[in-house]
């Protein structure tokens, strides 16, 4: 029963290893990938159903007693995120068949893709801080492989910076974990939460908390540490950008969410105040970036940053409403970012350029693409009835309730600017006169719209079905405010 918790990691890991050996036979590899992502989604959904019905599943690896061994904790928050990540994975797998050139597919795209999913699921599920570092490395090493896939000049230039930044923050992560181990003598998150509570969070622990925040802020692209993101997320092929934009930064956000709701919650005036300030700055600077460029892919990549800002705002406010909003927004953002990268990728494939000034009138020949993009744009900006609205509403309501008026107003204005930045693509790219000399003979958007539509379906479900989904999210938020539940389920026996 408790072994279920490792399935979301094990399935993609084994698939990835098998695919390495079959690499020469591309049709077979494609078929296995297709089947396995769907099986994986089904399995993960069943586990999620189980967790939401019967409570947290805890797996003690090797049956070691809790503080000594490694634990995997499939609590509602983790499992819901794993399901969403796998949803994105399914869409990405199907998009990859229709968008990658054969050479890239042959050079181990599918194995790396599976390993990335294994790493992301592992990072969500682990209940051990050092193990979190290990899974970070698993997903980062897969991402290093993916970002250079194809080996163009731009890719080498940007990926080197991406790798150095991530390597540096990983080393800082290890150092911080060893600091923490020296102070409290454990790396198990539940036990950390207990012990930090017992000894009161004094100066040194707050310092360690901020060091951890720096690490996760680098991975999750928070205000002063987001500079590496936009360029390095736009150089690889679209499907890889979509994977990165949907999953990688969210793992950083999830880590902040976990650590600052479970472990370091005894000195809110310092740690969460910093989160609030950074959230405000992230919102403003991210959206300025999105408005500053005419490269459509870069606009989407910059839009990742204010989304992280909203989630940080929710964590910083630290009330049930705001945390529920953060979880909702996290789920929404994983889906919508992948969908937007897909749609923009199809747009670029059709127009043959990523420069907005050279596009126009695409909607005449591609009406479906145009209207799907319009829906995605509204969802991103957080207009009802789409999923972004619910998350933003809860976060901003939390901000007003707790008296953070300035931040709430910054959040509202940023929403408008996000809408402006994204609708600019719609107006200039889809409306107006076509600036293309000739329409491409083979329809380049073939097979690219369906995966995006698949994801948008879930955006609409998350928005319209809020009535049904909200109780679950509310339950997750309640558990985050009162971490006793998490601690008990891990520490019992």
């Amino acid at each position: 029963m408790s072994n279920l918790a490792i399935m979301p990691i094990l399935l993609p890991l084994l698939t990835g290893i098998i695919l390495v050996f079959l690499n020469k036979r591309l049709p077979l590899v494609r078929m296995i990938t297709r089947i396995m992502v769907i099986i994986n989604l089904v399995v993960v959904s069943l586990i999620a159903y189980n967790v939401l019905q019967n409570g947290t599943i805890v797996l003690k690896a090797g049956d070691w007693v809790v503080p000594y061994g490694i634990v995997l904790v499939a609590d509602p928050l983790a499992i819901v995120l794993v399901v969403t990540a796998n949803l994105v994975a399914v869409a990405c797998a199907f998009y990859a068949f229709n968008s990658l050139d054969e050479q890239r597919e042959r050079y181990y795209f599918y194995p790396l893709f599976q390993l990335l999913i294994a790493g992301v699921s592992g990072a969500f599920l682990t209940g051990d801080l050092f193990n979190l570092f290990v899974f970070f490395e698993v997903l980062l090493i897969a991402s290093y492989g993916l970002i250079v896939l194809g080996g163009t000049k731009e890719q080498f230039r940007e990926s080197f910076k991406y790798i150095i930044i991530n390597l540096f923050s990983s080393i800082l992560f290890v150092t911080t974990v060893s600091f923490l181990y020296a102070v409290v003598g454990t790396v198990n998150m539940a036990q950390l939460a207990e012990r930090v509570g017992e000894i009161e969070q004094d100066g040194i622990l707050t310092t360690i908390a901020i060091l951890l925040l720096i690490v996760f802020a680098t991975k999750g692209a928070l205000f002063p540490l987001y500079f590496w993101l936009p360029k390095s997320y736009t150089v690889p092929p679209t499907v890889i950008s979509a994977l990165f934009g949907a999953l990688l930064t969210k793992v950083g956000v999830y880590s902040i969410l976990r650590v600052f709701t479970l472990i370091f919650v005894y000195n809110l005036t310092v740690t969460h105040q910093i989160l609030l300030i950074l959230a405000g700055l992230t919102l403003v600077f991210g959206v300025i970036g999105a408005l500053s460029t005419n490269n459509v892919q870069l606009i989407i990549a910059y839009n990742i940053i204010p989304a992280v800002g909203y989630m940080m705002l929710g964590i910083g406010i630290f009330s049930t409403t705001a945390l529920a909003g953060t979880v909702y927004y996290l789920l929404h953002d994983m889906i919508i970012k992948a969908a937007l990268f897909f749609l923009v990728g199809a747009m670029v494939a059709y127009a043959g350029t990523s420069d907005l000034r050279k596009m126009g009138g695409i909607i005449k020949n591609q009406p479906l693409l145009g209207w799907l993009f319009f829906i995605a744009a509204l969802a991103l900006a957080g207009l009802p009835p789409f999923s972004g609205f619910v998350g933003k509403l809860l976060i901003l309501r939390g901000a007003f309730e707790e008296g953070h008026y300035v931040l709430a107003i910054i959040g509202l204005l940023t929403s408008l600017l996000i809408l402006l930045s994204i609708i600019r693509i719609f107006i200039n790219g889809f409306w107006g006169e076509s600036k293309q000399d000739k329409v491409p003979e083979v329809n380049p958007t073939k097979g690219k719209i369906v995966p995006a539509a698949f994801l948008l379906l879930f955006t609409i479900t998350l928005g319209l079905g809020a009535e049904f989904i909200y109780p679950t999210v509310q339950m997750i938020a309640d558990q985050m405010i009162d971490p006793a539940n998490y601690i008990d389920s891990v520490m019992k026996e």
Binding site: Y68, F130, F133, V134, E137, I141, Y144, V148, G151, T152, K153, E154, F156, R157, E158, S159, F160, K161, I163, I164, L167, F168, I171, V174, T175, V177, S178, F179, Y181, A182, V187, K231, T293, N295, L298
Partner: protein, 112 residues
């Protein structure tokens, strides 16, 4: 002994950061290697240095060394070994493709 090790780790960190701030790609790679050595040394120091004791936790052994940092450092060494070798290959390919190993010349701008 812990103090000496901490100072040593600090020196490795300093040298590593200095190397990372250089312009040549290879020097940056060496910088990351030095940094990770510093981090590893740091982990082992944080678990208290007890030389020649068994890493056992049981009732009849009272004088032991904490086994957990040793497990952590081993994992961390394997990871940094893998990443460093990948980075060396990447540095070489990047040099071949871009024709330069100077980070100043690897700045990208929008108008290209």
């Amino acid at each position: 002994m812990e103090i000496v090790m901490s100072v040593l780790a600090g020196m490795l960190f300093t040298a590593g950061v200095y190397m990372m701030l250089q312009k040549q790609i290879l020097k940056i790679v060496i910088g990351t290697a030095l940094l990770s050595h510093g981090a590893h040394l740091f982990i082992i120091t944080m678990g208290k240095l007890n030389r020649g004791k068994p890493p056992i936790l049981s009732e009849d052994v009272t004088n032991y060394v904490d086994p957990l940092p040793q497990a952590l450092i081993l994992t961390s060494i394997v990871i940094s070994f893998g990443v460093t070798s990948f980075l060396l290959v990447l540095a070489y390919r990047a040099y071949q493709t871009n024709g330069t190993d100077n980070m100043e010349k690897l700045r990208g701008n929008d108008n290209e």
